[in-house]
Symmetry: C2
Subunit: 154 residues, 2 copies
């Protein structure tokens, strides 16, 4: 019954690792991203890009630092993520009054991209909502928020 490569006494360790919060969330992240991206592919906008565009559109303009914090990501990650969005003309990046900063602003093209992607995003989201129900889904997002807070509290 024991696998050849399962050292003695490692069984409980294996079970523990199967419950790794980080690994399980990353797995879900992979599967969900593949799914949303596939459904949204006709729009040419990825789910990661829609999230960034929406943040800028509904709460911008932002500096890099503030936007990165809003998205819970590293500033240098945001620098990379914004390149394709700026190249497509969905956002503009211009120096702020404080010349150290850059102001990120949505463009008409960016608003347009959001509107194009939204129906497809709704389609993907609705599929998950139908299967789980809004109540369980809302609870899940709440629990995720708590996990995030726990991980951030040092």
């Amino acid at each position: 019954m024991d696998g050849l490569h399962t050292p003695e006494g490692e069984r409980s360790t294996e079970a523990d690792l199967l419950d790794c919060v980080c690994t399980n969330v990353r797995m879900a992240s992979r599967v969900l991203t593949r799914y949303y991206d596939e459904v949204m592919s006709p729009s040419g906008v990825r789910i990661t890009q829609l999230a960034t565009l929406a943040a800028v559109a509904y709460h911008g303009p932002f500096t890099m630092k503030v936007l990165a914090r809003a998205l819970f990501m590293d500033r240098s990650t945001l620098t990379a993520d914004l390149q394709p969005l700026a190249a497509q003309g969905f956002i503009t990046i211009v120096p702020g009054e404080d010349r150290r900063t850059r102001m990120i602003t949505i463009t008409d093209g960016g608003l347009n991209a959001i509107q194009t992607a939204l129906p497809l995003w709704r389609q993907a989201q609705s599929h998950i909502e139908r299967d789980l129900g809004q109540a369980r889904l809302g609870a899940l997002l709440g629990e995720l928020r708590e996990v995030v807070e726990s991980a951030q509290s040092q």
Copy 2:
């Protein structure tokens, strides 16, 4: 009260996007990965690498295809992910009997790396467990599994 850059009638759209399952899971993935990686950094093993090593150690040897499926990731992703593990001597990649395949096997160095990383992983995991409790955490992982199934059911 209204932000200057929130177009009229977009309020519900914004609220909808805030509840995007994929975006929220990705956010949690970023924060959790940063946290686990920081705690585990003295071991030199990342949480992503520990997950892969553990799968190979406890259930391998695997072919690329089977391991990729077990980790819910693309085969080409796995090809890239295995490079640093092979370079450090934690796994071996050798042709299988079917010469199209490659068998991925854990090495003594790989088992050693797991043992070195485990206490630090436990430390990170325990912190989350303490804050949320095992019951809620178990439920969260269960809900994530359902979301994954929903996203994979086409």
